[in-house]
């Protein structure tokens, strides 16, 4: 039985990854999950300098999911290279570093610093809805996305994954822009912008007013967008958005994803990723699937 998938020349032992921002750099969850058994750890976004993030409350519960407005708090690339990469290199898994920034230069600085490190891929967060400084525009306008992808590709030594925002009219337009500018893969969906009001206090639950929605509630939107993109571009897709178990992972793969990421569900069940790895193997056995690659995009 073959569970390995390959994206831009990087082979992952299985298609189960972690969604950026929900798994730190793996340290915290290493008490629950054997990182050696994951396809990849996708790290929390890292910027060129430390970011303090947003005021609290930063998280809120919603029906079948949650809102977050962390604001990409992170220690910056120096600490990350010194502490987080060596930690992850102890494990037999692939490392995908999520990169965030406020300007193109910010992104390029991080990408260049990472060029000398032993990480496997870069995921570019151009779609965080919780950072006001303008990064979101990169992810919501096709020409901006093209430009930043083009710049990053010129500087990156590792293969590049552009992470797409679902908060757009036409996700395929964004996917095509990323592909045209040379992105090696795309990942989607980032969170959907939402809001929650405390009617007794008459105030927003999040200090940031809005937050990014994740969890099972958004899965149908994510599956739809993955399907649309899979039929619009040739580069591989990493699917995410409310994935809770092996069935969900397989649904995304049948829609066209080559790999999948577990996000908010890590918080609900810290063993989600490992149970998913096992559940996918069980499904393959039951359904007599020799190679997981055979189901990618099989529903047309």
């Amino acid at each position: 039985m073959k569970t390995a998938v390959t994206i831009a020349g990087v082979t992952f032992q299985n298609p189960v990854m972690t969604a950026s921002g929900t798994f730190g750099s793996g340290m915290e969850y290493s008490e629950f999950v054997d990182l050696n058994r994951l396809g990849a750890v996708v790290t929390k976004g890292v910027a060129n300098v430390p970011w303090p993030g947003n005021p609290t409350p930063r998280v809120a519960e919603v029906y079948g999911g949650m809102l977050n407005a962390i604001g990409l708090q992170n220690p910056g690339i120096d600490v990350f290279i010194e502490r987080d990469i060596p930690f992850l290199k102890q494990y037999d898994t692939k490392i995908i570093v999520n990169v965030c920034g406020k300007t193109v230069e910010d992104y390029l600085e991080v990408v260049e610093r990472l060029g000398d490190t032993d990480v496997d891929m870069l995921e570019i967060n151009v779609s965080c809805p919780n950072v006001k400084e303008g990064a979101i525009a990169f992810g919501q306008k096709a020409d901006c996305l093209y430009d930043i992808t083009d710049q990053i590709k010129k500087h990156a030594k590792q293969p590049v994954i552009m992470k797409l925002s679902p908060n757009v009219t036409d996700i395929t337009e964004m996917a095509r822009a990323a592909e045209a500018a040379g992105s090696d893969a795309i990942s989607l969906i980032n969170t959907i912008t939402g809001m929650k009001i405390d009617i007794h206090k008459r105030q927003f639950v999040l200090a940031n007013k809005t937050g990014g929605m994740s969890g099972p509630a958004i899965k149908p939107v994510a599956v739809r967008m993955v399907y649309q993109c899979a039929n619009a571009v040739k580069i591989p897709i990493i699917g995410m958005g409310g994935i809770a178990d092996a069935s969900d992972a397989i649904e995304f793969m049948m829609a066209g994803a080559t790999a999948v990421s577990v996000g908010a569900m890590n918080f609900v069940n810290p063993y989600t990723t490992i149970e998913m790895v096992e559940g996918i193997a069980r499904f393959m056995e039951e359904q007599h699937i020799e190679d997981i690659n055979d189901i990618i995009g099989c529903v047309k």
């Binding site: 929900t22 008490e31 930063r58 708090q73």
Partner: protein
């Protein structure tokens, strides 16, 4: 790297007993071997079964009985999740993760007069704390004050076993009228070190009092949480020192806390 044996785990445990000890306040004993590692001031995450509410509820550990492999939580019904928990009965399953966070720094009480201060649903963690201090700690004297709404002095009997107990009530129906600071004034308590847990206005008052009186104070903070294990960076508080994770003076309450030295946090 090979996988280490985990200290934290999520598991489906059994409810040993549940009683309502005050209006909206419930007292649940849970069978779990997490009791062996529980420290005063730590908490567990409790997961509702209602699938519309996915995130765990952080609930402080009120008491741990390692011999019986049992944990006690005392919590207030504040929403759908805790409402659900309050309906659990003996034998029901309960999904928990723990033990989480760092406890109170017991060693700071050595040879000192320690004052435990609890307000409302911040009172429960004082039970295990007082018990540990009394049974294994080296404090010279243990003073305890707890602030209630009225004379429903839940956990007063438990607390009285371990130290001098001074309640305060908002309506003046028992103990000092007012809050825990009023009890401190009324009783003329002179602690060397304070361990406190309760609502933010109370913690702010204690921080101010400790600063003015030159007393060390350790306070347990609360914030909306998602992961409970330090990964999501949802539950931070501003700190005077660089935090261990991001070095941006935003410590994670769930893992760097929930107990902080009062002077090190901006609240």
């Amino acid at each position: 790297m090979e996988q280490k044996t985990a200290l934290k785990k999520k598991e489906t445990a059994r409810v040993l007993s549940q009683t309502r000890i005050a209006p909206g306040i419930y007292d649940m004993w849970i069978a779990t071997d997490l009791a062996a590692q529980a420290k005063p001031g730590q908490f567990i995450a409790v997961y509702p079964k209602d699938k519309s509410t996915l995130l765990p509820r952080p609930i402080s550990i009120c008491e741990a009985d390692p011999d019986k492999e049992a944990l006690r939580i005392v919590y207030r019904v504040a929403g759908k999740g805790t409402e659900e928990f309050s309906n659990y009965q003996e034998g029901d399953s309960v999904d928990i993760m723990g033990t989480l966070g760092n406890g109170f720094p017991m060693e700071k009480a050595s040879g000192k007069t320690v004052l435990l201060m609890g307000g409302g649903i911040g009172i429960p963690p004082l039970v295990e704390l007082a018990k540990e201090l009394k049974e294994r700690g080296k404090a010279e004297q243990i003073l305890i004050t707890a602030g209630y709404r009225d004379d429903n002095l839940f956990l007063a009997e438990d607390l009285s076993q371990y130290g001098e107990f001074y309640p305060a009530t908002e309506d003046g129906s028992a103990g000092a009228k007012g809050n825990v600071m009023d009890a401190v004034a009324a009783q003329g308590l002179k602690p060397d070190v304070i361990f406190a847990c309760g609502p933010m206005p109370m913690l702010r008052a204690i921080k101010g009092y400790a600063f003015e009186s030159g007393i060390e104070a350790y306070i347990s903070l609360e914030e909306r949480m998602a992961c409970g294990v330090g990964a999501c960076l949802g539950c931070v508080c501003k700190t005077t020192k660089k935090d261990s994770h991001s070095h941006v003076n935003n410590a994670r309450i769930c893992t760097d806390g929930p107990v902080f030295e009062a002077k090190e946090v901006e609240i």
